[in-house]
Structures are given as structure tokens and as C-alpha cells.
């Protein structure tokens, strides 16, 4: 567990965001200081806060540049002078307890003068813990007004976006289905009309209109069945290739989780291509139904021609 105290310090009417934190707790909290180059929360100059520090500050790199602060500079917080001991690069994404100036928690509590208070507490649950139960327990001891943000909230945000995407995809699919239906009926009619002469021969040798409708409909069922199976196979392959090659890293900006938090949030979205017999059945059935409709519409029209009219096409 790590607690932080966030507050604003005003000087000449300009606010500065201050976060007081425990220097000795680095496994959990809003930032994870490091001396590694390019890493999030890199100490670019000086050092990080120490347990024994009082009235010292680590300043965000951007803020230091705008205020012309360096290691050894003094900064006024709540009417007290703080010595800048380090410059840190915290990144710019939205986050909890992100600040322009980081100071030791004890000193922060002294300045705010409200006792041992915290505005945000970071908890790391053990793998066996039930987040729901912990959430309930916090609310019962701290009060219902407390805001609890969990990694599940991130998933909920992603799920919400996914629902929106799903609704849009359903709309697009509907338009595609209508267009494909019209196209299939049109091409089926064209295919049947191409066989006008052949149908004329069948009628001349005694095929009834119903026999011709039956034949063309059966042909269409077989064709659409084969088409449906091939279509499902191709769709599976394309989906598989897409998922394998798609960049499915969710941007951190859609969550308030600290960008340089000690514990990282997994933003890699794993999507598995599920082989769903139910979905395949629906796909093939839709193709067959479409085939039957298209075949019936085309054959019904052409079978009503007199044999002589059809034979003239030969």
C-alpha cells in the first residue's frame, strides 16, 4: 500500500500541482523512478527523494524547463522553500497523482496541516484477493463517497468501446448483406438468362416449368453451399491473419491509471480467433437461403417463357 497527498500550491495566482509521496515505497504508487535512459520516470538530473528528506523536491522536466529550475534551485511551496534535488521525466498522459512537483509525504502533510491524510491510496492485491470484496471493504471503512479505480475499469472502458464498435460493425454488415443480396439476385438472373437456349431445349423435350425451377434451385443450393463453405474458410483465414498482424495496443489515454506507475497496466489486447460452429452454420445457411431465393426468382421468370421464345436464343 502507498498513500499520496495531492494539493495545489498558489503563487501570484498561479497553481502548481504538488504530490507528496513516500520515497521509500517504489513498488507501488504513481511513479516508478529510474535512472534508465528513455524509460518512464527517468531521473534526468540529480536524484530521487530519500526517506530522510524534508523540504526537498523532485520536479517534472517540463515544469522545470518552464520555471527555469535546476538541481539546487529553490521553489516556494505553501510559503516554504524547497530545494530541488532532482528533475524527473514523467510523461504527459492523463494519470492519477501526476504532478509538477513531488515532495516527501511527511512534509506535504505538514504543509497542508490536516494531520496524516492522503488523497489517493494505491493498493496492490495479492493474486488470491477478490477485488470486489476489497472494494466493498474499503467503502464500508472509508465511506461510500470514495472513488475506486481498478484495472477492471480499464477493461470496462475497452468493453464499452468494443460495444460501440460492435454496433457500428452490425450496421455496416447489414448494408453489406443488402448489397450482396441484390448483387447475388442480379447475377443469378443474368446466369439463368444466359442459359435461356438450354432451358428452351429442356422445355421442348417435355420439361415442365416446375422441373426447371427445381433443377435451377437445386443447382443454386449446391453452388451456394460450396460458396458458403469456401467463404467461411476464407473469412477464418483473413480474420486469423488480421488478428496476428493487427496492432492491438490500447492507448493509455483512455484510462486514468498512472503512466509511470510502479506496477504496469497491461494494454495489450489479446484477441483469439474462435472457431464457432454456430457462426459457421449461420453463415452457410444465409448463403444457401440467398442461393434459393436468387435461383427461384431467376428460374421462375424464365421457365414461364414459351419454348419457342427460349429456342430463338440459340
Amino acid at each position: 500500500m502507498a498513500g499520496v497527498l495531492e494539493f495545489l500550491s498558489f503563487k501570484d495566482g498561479h497553481p502548481t500541482i504538488i504530490t507528496g509521496l513516500s520515497p521509500n515505497i517504489t513498488g507501488i504508487g504513481p511513479i516508478k523512478p529510474t535512472y534508465e535512459k528513455g524509460e518512464c520516470c527517468e531521473i534526468v538530473e540529480g536524484r530521487y527523494l530519500q526517506n530522510t528528506d524534508t523540504y526537498t523536491a523532485v520536479v517534472d522536466k517540463e515544469f522545470a524547463a518552464s520555471e527555469d529550475l535546476n538541481v539546487g534551485s529553490k521553489i516556494d511551496i505553501g510559503g516554504k522553500d524547497f530545494e530541488v534535488v532532482g528533475i524527473i521525466n514523467t510523461g504527459r498522459t492523463a494519470r492519477i497523482a501526476g504532478a509538477q512537483v513531488f515532495i516527501p509525504i511527511g512534509t506535504a502533510q505538514q504543509i497542508v496541516n490536516k494531520g496524516d491524510i492522503y488523497t489517493t491510496v494505491f493498493l496492490k492485491l495479492s493474486s488470491q484477493a477478490d477485488p470486489g470484496a476489497v472494494e466493498k471493504k474499503i467503502k464500508s471503512s472509508v465511506g461510500e463517497d470514495v472513488t475506486i479505480t481498478t484495472s477492471a475499469d480499464f477493461l470496462a472502458t475497452v468493453a464499452g468501446m468494443s460495444t460501440m464498435t460492435k454496433t457500428m460493425a452490425a450496421g455496416i454488415s447489414l448494408i453489406v448483406i443488402v448489397l450482396v443480396t441484390l448483387f447475388v439476385i442480379k447475377s443469378s438472373l443474368a446466369a439463368v438468362y444466359e442459359r435461356k437456349g438450354e432451358i428452351g431445349i429442356m422445355k421442348a423435350v417435355g420439361w415442365r416449368d416446375g422441373d426447371i425451377v427445381k433443377l435451377i434451385t437445386i443447382e443454386n443450393i449446391i453452388q451456394s453451399l460450396i460458396g458458403g463453405v469456401i467463404g467461411c474458410f476464407i473469412a477464418y483465414i483473413i480474420t486469423y491473419l488480421f488478428v496476428m498482424n493487427a496492432n492491438l495496443v490500447i492507448p493509455e489515454t483512455i484510462t486514468s491509471y498512472p503512466a509511470c506507475a510502479a506496477s504496469t497496466l497491461s494494454t495489450d489486447l489479446t484477441v483469439n480467433v474462435v472457431f464457432s460452429p454456430y457462426l459457421i452454420l449461420i453463415g452457410i445457411s444465409a448463403a444457401v437461403i440467398l442461393g434459393i431465393l436468387a435461383g427461384y426468382a431467376g428460374s421462375k421468370k424464365i421457365s414461364s417463357l414459351l419454348p419457342n421464345e427460349a429456342l430463338r436464343e440459340l
Binding site: 429442356m202 415442365r208 416449368d209 419457342n308
Partner: protein, 226 residues
């Protein structure tokens, strides 16, 4: 017996000039006759064959075959009539190019509900009759014109029809092959007593028939026994 009474057929509608293909045509044909239907191109021979065979409908008058007025039949019964009583032989053979020879011959049998194996054996029998027993698996495009016309004749006979209607059956063939086709039709007429009506403008073919009917501008101008 075929009874043709006062039939008239006009082509052309929707603003096109109307052409009278047949005008008040009447005559009767006895079972087992072999008739040459003669006349120049456009005289109405093919139209008359189409009407007798139920491929088209006349505007007025009636055609009866064995006392059944085929002019009054609905589409289904007319299809049954064509399947059971008539065999057609066309000048351009009208075989389906994607089907094999035997499949083309089986075509009239398939809607009758006969099992496919039986259809196949009947079709092979018909193919033997026209002397092409060895060509059953070939596609029409792999045969000569004369052979294709023989296949068309086998298809016409496969349902054991009472009437064979042949529209210029030798028109696309050389004289020697045409002669053989005619001999085949003559043999069918003599041995199996099939009524044969051949539309032609060739006098040599007409001489093989027992009766000659001549059409001019859609009217019968001559009807004589030979």
C-alpha cells in the same frame, strides 16, 4: 391422327410490324404418315411445326392430336404432351454442349421420374438405333454434324413418340450425310410407324415422303400424296 383446323399465327407486337406467319391453315394427318412440308423460306413451315409440337400457341383455330385439343392445354399439360407424344429434330441439332451424348438423349426421360440407371440404359438403346453406340461419353462438340443430328434423332425417339417433327434436319449437313439421316427417319416411319413431318425446301427430300404439303405466304397451296 392430327387435325389442324383454321389456324392463324401472327408475329410482331409492341409497335413492330405484324407478320402473318400462318393464315387459315387446315388439314389432317393420319397416324404413320411421312409428310414433307415444303415452301420457300418464310412460308410458315417452321411455325406450323412449332404449333403442331406445342412449342408455341396459335392465335386462332385448333390443333388436335388423337382427339385432344392441344391448343387449349395449359403449360404443364402441354409439356407432358411434348414429352409423351412428340420428338423434335432441329436444323441446328440443339444439343446441350456441356452434357455428354448419352446425357443429352436422357434429357426427355429425366422429368418422368424414371430411375437414372434405367434412363441411361434406354438412352443407350436409342443411341444404338442411330448407329452411335460407341460415342456415348463424347460431348456434342466432339462429333461431326451428321453424328450430332443422329444424337438429336436418338433424343427425339427415346420417349417412343407418336410424332417426329423435323425442321430442315439435313439443312446443315452435306448431301451424303443428309441422305443417311433421311434413311434413318424413313426407317423409323416404316418399322415403328412413327408419324414424321419434315419441313424442307429440298425436292429430293420431299420425294422420300408419302405426302407433300406446300405452303406459300402462310397458306396451304398444294397437298398431294406421292
Amino acid at each position: 391422327m392430327i387435325n389442324i383446323r383454321n389456324i392463324t399465327k401472327t408475329y410482331g407486337d409492341k409497335g413492330l410490324a405484324k407478320v402473318k406467319a400462318l393464315e387459315d391453315v387446315s388439314f389432317a394427318i393420319e397416324n404413320g404418315e411421312m409428310i414433307a412440308l415444303m415452301g420457300a423460306s418464310g412460308s410458315g413451315k417452321s411455325t406450323l411445326l412449332s404449333l403442331i409440337g406445342g412449342l408455341d400457341k396459335c392465335d386462332s383455330g385448333s390443333i388436335s392430336v388423337d382427339e385432344e385439343n392441344i391448343s387449349a392445354l395449359n403449360a404443364q399439360k402441354l409439356a407432358d404432351f411434348r414429352r409423351d407424344k412428340v420428338g423434335f429434330v432441329f436444323q441446328q441439332f440443339h444439343l446441350i454442349p456441356t452434357l455428354s451424348v448419352v446425357e443429352n438423349i436422357m434429357l426427355p426421360l429425366l422429368p418422368s421420374g424414371i430411375k437414372k440407371a434405367e434412363c441411361c440404359s434406354v438412352a443407350k438403346e436409342a443411341l444404338e438405333k442411330v448407329g452411335l453406340g460407341t460415342r456415348e461419353k463424347h460431348l456434342p462438340g466432339e462429333l461431326s454434324g451428321g453424328e450430332q443430328q443422329r444424337v438429336a434423332i436418338a433424343r427425339a425417339l427415346v420417349n417412343k413418340p407418336e410424332i417426329i417433327l423435323a425442321d430442315e434436319p439435313t439443312g446443315d449437313l452435306d448431301s451424303k450425310t443428309g441422305e443417311k439421316i433421311l434413311e434413318l427417319l424413313q426407317a423409323l416411319n416404316q418399322k415403328e410407324k412413327v408419324t414424321i413431318i419434315i419441313a424442307t425446301h429440298d425436292d429430293k427430300i420431299a420425294k422420300k415422303a408419302k405426302r407433300k404439303i406446300v405452303l406459300k405466304d402462310g397458306k396451304v397451296i398444294e397437298d398431294e400424296k406421292l
